[in-house]
């Protein structure tokens, strides 16, 4: 097992400090980073003050100009998202998606545990800019520490006049309500999150017509933003869109947090520069993961959370740029890379992910509920050495019922296959069903030989007619 400086049991920090530009993790090096005292001593709530000193539309424009890409997975610019609410329909709500559960991903948890005030400030700026009259901060149920830190920070912030009535003595008033879940991955999907927040089973709604910006919480226009997205706003308002866009590329400005786990020398969460940092930088760079563990070869990696189609070393030089990763057959998703070295049992690794999504299916739509479990059962059989060659085709057939047409995958020089670009088409309501298929499809496409090696070849017994 590799060691992580400071990553000692039981309280490993996960985050690895470097000297790259920091937008959201600037306070992480402080022991007391989560306190109001530390926050105020390090420009805390200065972004909010700057925002309130300008008309709300100005603030909205600033965010739009900065092209802050959503960090939840879809990568839609936050400023544009706020502008999608229908004219003249009130009230509008902000729902903060802190239900981080995508396999491989954790950055929102760190942002909530280590710098809750930064998130609160981000929420306030968003509410101010987009005219949102109440904010619900939905934290994943299993994250006890994050809930405690945010609750404490909110209590401090209310007492100090940063949240609630007449914030900083202004006409801006908004409540932030801490809400917490109870264990269901699918609630990370924004419409399921809203259902859950309404006290229901967290089953996604159909889009259209239920785009939250139009018909969201209680049927009202609702902005759902990811924790990391909102955590960018204090810095942005303090330093301006020009400074923000000076980091990264034009299409992917700023930084983003990426968690690299699995078979690397130094797994951890890193705040990297968006758009220019490549997978090779991350996996092999001295300031990042420092290569594959034990000097092993890289076999494959999942580039954007468990739902993403897999990459192999062929794709190492791609940068963190959606416009390049998409055509290459996968997605950046939630900023999570899972690395598999040459010792990895590929079918078994794929099974852990497929099992996850099958288990986390909400059960609402047929292809996900039935198809996901079916995939898991066939794959289990294959992994256990009880599969037949028909099973491999059957996996693809079930996948076709979940996602019709060509499913995205990476190119591979050795296999002589070209990439099928992202995204996929789906017969499901949300992406959970397709996510159960993605690892199966990637593994089968890129490493079919490993599956074939495990299946029992069907022996055909000649049948002679008895006369």
């Amino acid at each position: 097992m590799t060691s992580n400086p400071g990553g000692t049991w039981p309280h490993a920090p996960g985050f690895i400090v470097g000297d790259r530009p920091k937008i959201v993790t600037s306070r992480f090096e402080y022991e007391d980073s989560y306190t109001l005292q530390r926050y105020l001593a390090t420009d805390g709530y200065a972004g909010l003050r700057a925002a309130l000193g300008r008309p709300a539309t100005d603030v909205h424009d600033e965010v739009k100009n900065a092209t802050v890409l959503g960090r939840g997975g879809a990568g839609f610019p936050a400023g544009n998202k706020w502008g999608l609410t229908p004219q003249g329909v009130w009230p509008r709500y902000l729902v903060v998606n802190g239900d981080e559960s995508e396999p491989g991903t954790y950055k929102d948890r760190l942002l909530m545990e280590r710098d809750p005030h930064q998130l609160i400030e981000g929420c306030l700026i968003a509410c101010y800019a987009a005219g949102l009259s109440q904010c619900f901060l939905y934290i994943r149920g299993e994250m006890a520490l994050a809930q405690e830190r945010v609750a404490t920070a909110l209590n401090e912030a209310y007492a100090a006049g940063y949240v609630g009535k007449n914030i900083l003595g202004s006409k801006f008033s908004v409540d932030i309500v801490l809400h917490w879940g109870a264990g269901a991955y699918v609630v990370g999907e924004e419409t399921a999150l809203i259902e859950s927040l309404e006290g229901n089973r967290g089953m996604p709604r159909l889009k259209p017509p239920y785009f939250p910006a139009a018909i969201g919480l209680y049927g009202q226009p609702t902005i759902v933003n990811n924790v990391e997205t909102l955590a960018n706003l204090p810095w942005l308002l303090l330093n301006g869109a020009v400074a923000y866009t000076a980091i990264g590329t034009a299409t992917s400005p700023g930084t983003r947090m990426v968690a690299v786990s699995g078979h690397v020398q130094r797994p951890g969460v890193y705040e990297i520069i968006n758009g220019i940092t490549t997978f090779r930088d991350l996996l092999y760079g001295e300031e990042f993961c420092q290569g594959i563990r034990n000097g092993n070869e890289l076999k494959a990696f999942v580039p954007g959370g468990g739902s993403a189609p897999w990459f192999t070393p062929d794709q190492l030089d791609l940068p963190f740029e959606a416009s390049q990763v998409g055509p290459a057959g996968s997605m950046l998703g939630s900023g999570a890379i899972m690395v598999m070295d040459s010792t990895t049992d590929i079918p078994r690794a794929a099974l852990t992910l497929t099992r996850f999504y099958a288990h986390e299916s909400c059960g609402k739509c047929t292809p996900c509920r039935e198809g996901g479990t079916w995939l898991e059962r066939i794959l289990s059989r294959v992994v256990d050495g009880k599969g037949t060659d028909a099973d491999l085709d059957q996996l693809m057939e079930v996948g076709e019922s979940i996602c019709p047409g060509a499913f995205p995958h990476a190119s591979n020089e050795k296999l002589g296959i070209a990439a099928v670009p992202f995204p996929y088409r789906m017969n499901t309501i949300c992406f959970v069903g397709p996510s159960a298929y993605a690892p199966v499809h990637s593994a089968l496409t890129l490493f079919r030989d490993e599956f074939e090696a495990r299946i029992t070849k069907r022996v055909l017994i000649p049948v002679t007619a008895v006369s």
Partner: protein, 789 residues
Amino acid sequence: MTTIDTNTESSEMPEKDPNAVSITINGRTVEAQKGEFIIAAADRADEFIPRFCYHPRMSSVGMCRQCLVEVEGPRGPMMVVSCMTPVAEGQVVRTETPQVKRAQEGMIELLLANHPLDCPVCDKGGECPLQDQAFSHGAGESRFVEEKRHYEKPIAISELVFLDRERCILCDRCTRFADEVAGDPLISFTQRGNNTQVMTFPDEPFASYFSGNVVQICPVGALTAEPYRFKARPWDLEQRESTCTTCSVGCRTVVQSSRDELLRYQGVDSDPVNWGWLCDRGRFNFQSVNSEDRLENPQTKAGDSYATTTWSAALDTISRTIRHATPGSVAILGGARGTNEDAFMWAQLADALGVTMRDAQLDDGLPASIFSYPQATIDAACSAGTVILLAPDMKEELPVLHIRLRDAAEKKKIRIIEISARETGLTKHAWRSVRAESGTSVTAVQQLLADSAIAAQLASGPVVVVAGRANLAEDAAHTMAAVDAVLAGVQNASVLPVLRRGNVRGALSLGLAPQSGKDAVAILEASARGQVECLILLGADPMNDIADADLARRGIAGAKFVVAIDTFLTQSAAHADIVLPAAAYGEKDGTTMNLEGRVTNVVQKITPRGTSRADWMIAAELGLLLGHDANVTTLADVQKLMGKKVPGFGATTTSVAVKRDGIVVTVPTPTRTSFVAPTITPRNSYEFRVDVSRKLYDRAVGTITSPALANLATGVSITIHPLDLERVGAAIGANVRVSNAHSSIVLPVQSNEKVPRGTAVIPFNQPGADVRELIRHGDSVVDVRIESM
């Protein structure tokens, strides 16, 4: 009111509808309405798209994914669910491309993955949407070789419904129905993912009055109804479309039978009436028709028991009795349980004999002059700006009308103002609900009309007053005076009368309404005085239904000769000198009139029991014996005569009535008189004012003779406010003595904080002590004293 014929299409094309859009489905142009979903437009164009979760009367959820179709988009064809994708001008839809076919086959295969293939022993087999669509849209074989999901099967989720979770395909139809339509969300999805299952809360059954509907709309055999389980195979059933006459809503049904036995009723979607829904009482009381206790032959009283006799002997005795009776001493009570033709022929006979004592009601409705007010239909009420309820609890008495009004209120099509002595099923859907103690509804109406916010609401659109008898321990004149007060204060308000008994409107409209004030009460009083020499009970059971029990007893006892025409030997029929067996529902053809005045048909599906006959035949035969031959031998003859003799009924009515939505008619009714609320004497020591009303399940003959329903009556009790209970000093469930000047009864007490202080709620006609002992006709209201024992 104009006569509306919803089935006749206008020959002139109206101007271009601004909401019309034109789309292409499989190359054909289809006209659709803005906001409509593709699947609905396709249905009208006979382009069938397979589906499981979609139901046109419920909101779409897009869950089963079976209805995927291709729609041409800016980036080529896109697969969308047709149950949630609205039509758009110029939209190009394809439902049969290889891609669509692949997706639909895939979905069927996935749905069948965990579905047991026990079709041969499944009640749904033969009429199962999953089975049918597996054949029409499936690949023909399953590659699922794994073990299927297993659950305990089946489990009873209520007294009437069984659930087999293994067969369930999780389409959300039953749970959506319970929540959206019935308003009884007592079943829910539980667990998650592949373990999702429909369940009730532990020990809290799906006790909804509408539970049978979930069985009907279940697209597989997961939900089955106790009365039909393993009784027949669908291909052995024969069916005819008919109208339910359990209450006066007039829900359309199909009556299904096999081997000359009724086996099932299913709801049929009539747009102006029931939208396909039925209440459980109406759905399952077919068992009553099959009951072994049915009367099969005419009976004559012989001492304390009855002897079977022949029709000719029985009719001969009756005709002789009538012939020898003093003029003006024959009376006819009832007629509301039969067809229009039955009522018409009896009215014809009454006219010929000069019988003025006749009433189709039993002092438990409102005066027939309620039909002379401006009339509203169900649709008019459900699209009015405001609905004023001066009515009984619709959920208990007219369940499907409750569903319609609830739906309209939930969808914000109407605002309900309720004036009631206690909470009802519609209270939580009401915009305003005021508690008006029995006897004070006129004052309550006047106060409401004086409120500026309410006046503004009333002025904002059409107003419909739903008027019925809310309290059997209150003089009907209170309600009539309150309706008068509304009509006096609100311009252009109309009335939807909600008299509850099956064909009461038909019977009253076709000649069985009281003449010169001689209503059921007056008839029974006359009888008690010995002035009735022949009392004919036409499916009427005054011993059970007249609120004044004492009057019923005296009236029946005082009649010199009693003839009962009924399907069962009811409590009243048991006092008759001659009992004639009547053909029951499902055993005779004819027409019926619902509470709106809508005429639809009822049908014969099985042979009448024993020698029983339709009421109209008995009237015709008696007429013949009495020298008043109406010259009718067939139902068509009767209908022809009705068309001639009943103004407003028209020659075409009965031919249109056979169409699903029937026809709303207006026939002359007693002239409108104005009512004054009767005065109320001070309560003195009788400190509780009594509210007596019916519940869906009571001792009604059709209910107690249906095994599935017989045990669902709650039993009698008296419910008061918890603080009142404290004052009375009794424990919940303990027996208390309830008394007034008339009588005293003992019954268990319950408390409910929603019952106003000083009000006592007692259900009518329930097993247990009889509340009718406390009621005397002519009492303005009924006040009682409650003492702990």
